[in-house]
């Protein structure tokens, strides 16, 4: 694990990279990393996240800046710019049921090839997927999802990289922290090693590659 300033962290991410980004309507999104990505003017990113927040907020800033070529998300309803770019053919959007999206990411992080879910059977979500029956019940095979980078926000990090999340800012963060080749974290507070109780660490330090220093 290395501790680096936000400029260097964002510079690690090349144009065209796939990013899993934590947050739910912007809550728990690593806002400082997003701002720096916008400043550095990345292009053609793939964003995997629950939603695209709203204009001016979290992932919404990447969308507004035209930096996203593809979005994989469960909900884009609160960001009209995402819908406009999608309908205008400027950005590809894959809509995935929220429970399926988080399980696909979890599978990617946990070394599973996929999971069988009943969600989406018989709907348009089934298109192009294998249907598998187990004990007479039908499921869709939903395959694992991984990314080049995970951009994670935590409430507390220690200087080794152990992470603790606050309340509903947890959401996708601990799950994406396992499913990317390189994991970059911003934390609201960075504390000495040993002061987060072992039972309260949600993401083990061993999963983290870079911790962004606070200003």
């Amino acid at each position: 694990m290395k501790t680096i300033p936000v400029e260097r962290a964002a510079a690690l991410i090349p144009d065209g990279a796939s990013l899993m980004i934590g947050g739910f309507m912007g809550i728990g999104t690593p806002e400082r990393l997003i701002d720096e990505l916008v400043r550095q003017g990345k292009r053609n990113l793939t964003v995997i996240a629950n939603d695209t927040a709203a204009p001016g907020r979290g992932i919404g800033k990447l969308i507004s800046a035209g930096m996203v070529g593809r979005t994989i998300a469960s909900h884009i309803g609160l960001n009209p710019e995402t819908q406009q770019q999608m309908l205008a053919g400027k950005m590809a959007v894959d809509l995935v049921p929220q429970g399926t999206l988080i399980e696909r990411i979890r599978a990617g992080g946990h070394g599973l090839g996929g999971v069988l879910t009943p969600t989406g059977v018989g709907t348009v979500v089934e298109e192009g997927k294998r249907r598998i029956d187990v004990d007479g019940k039908s499921y869709l095979l939903e395959t694992a999802l991984r990314a080049d980078f995970a951009l994670v926000n935590a409430f507390l990090a220690d200087y080794r990289g152990n992470l603790y999340y606050a309340l509903t800012a947890r959401n996708f963060n601990p799950v994406i922290a396992m499913a990317a080749d390189t994991v970059i974290v911003t934390a609201d507070n960075i504390v000495p090693v040993g002061v987060i109780a072992p039972d309260h660490v949600v993401t083990p330090a061993a999963l983290i590659d870079y911790l962004v220093t606070n200003p």
Binding site: D51, L95, G99, T119, G120, T168, A169, N171
Partner: protein, 216 residues
């Protein structure tokens, strides 16, 4: 009484103590305002919270405690938080006793369409597909018609949310269930005639015996 108030008050009477309940956005959210006295339920917010409380007073909010729309909420004593995988484990795994969702269309068997209008409105399904597939009991809260056109149809013309039929549709006119896969009139709003309801419904409605008034 406003249509949405009738709907929310009627659905609130379906709540039982100890239930874990997930409310969608829109009319369903209002159900939380009409929980009957003496009934103690857990509300789940799918962004990772059980024990959602009312909007906190000014000066007592925190940006890390919000509902699924990103709006500040409070947490009741005994609340707990978790990640999205757990949140949807609760939903898909049948641990949510009841969910209340909005609807665009419901078909004669009770199958719901509520997540997109192709080419026009594509917000995404969010958690709706998992909720309809996984919750123990699914209740649709919606107005009976949209711009005068029925929303309870023979067949949905919009993409389905799930092939699993919902348990109950509650509108400002009626309560409709789907015993044996057949849309059936269970209750009518006070002052509304059965004919009014049948005329506002495209799907064939089974009507038998005396239809009681909705308790609201």
């Amino acid at each position: 009484m406003e249509a949405q108030t009738i709907i929310a008050k009627r659905i609130a009477r379906e709540l039982q103590s100890g239930m874990l309940v997930n409310l969608g956005i829109g009319i369903p959210t209002l159900v939380a305002s009409y929980v009957p006295d003496g009934i103690d339920v857990y509300f789940q917010s799918e962004n990772g919270l059980i024990g959602t409380g009312p909007i906190p007073e000014d000066g007592t909010m925190h940006p890390t405690l919000t509902d699924a729309g990103g709006r500040p909420v409070s947490a009741l004593p005994g609340a707990c938080t978790f990640d999205s995988a757990m949140s949807f484990g609760l939903i898909r795994g049948g641990h949510v006793d009841m969910t209340v969702l909005g609807g665009l269309q419901v078909d004669a068997q009770g199958r719901l369409a509520n997540w997109m209008i192709p080419g026009k409105m594509v917000p995404g399904m969010g958690g709706a597909m998992d909720l309809v597939t996984g919750a123990k009991r699914v209740i649709v809260a919606m107005q009976h018609t949209a711009k005068g056109k029925p929303k309870i149809l023979d067949q949905c013309t919009l993409p389905l949310t799930s092939v699993r039929p919902v348990d109950l549709v509650v509108t400002e006119l009626a309560v409709i269930g789907f015993p044996e896969g057949q849309a059936t009139l269970l209750e009518k709003a006070p002052g509304v005639s059965i004919e009014d309801i049948v005329n506002a419904t495209e799907a064939r409605l089974a009507v038998s015996g005396t239809i009681p008034d909705m308790p609201i």
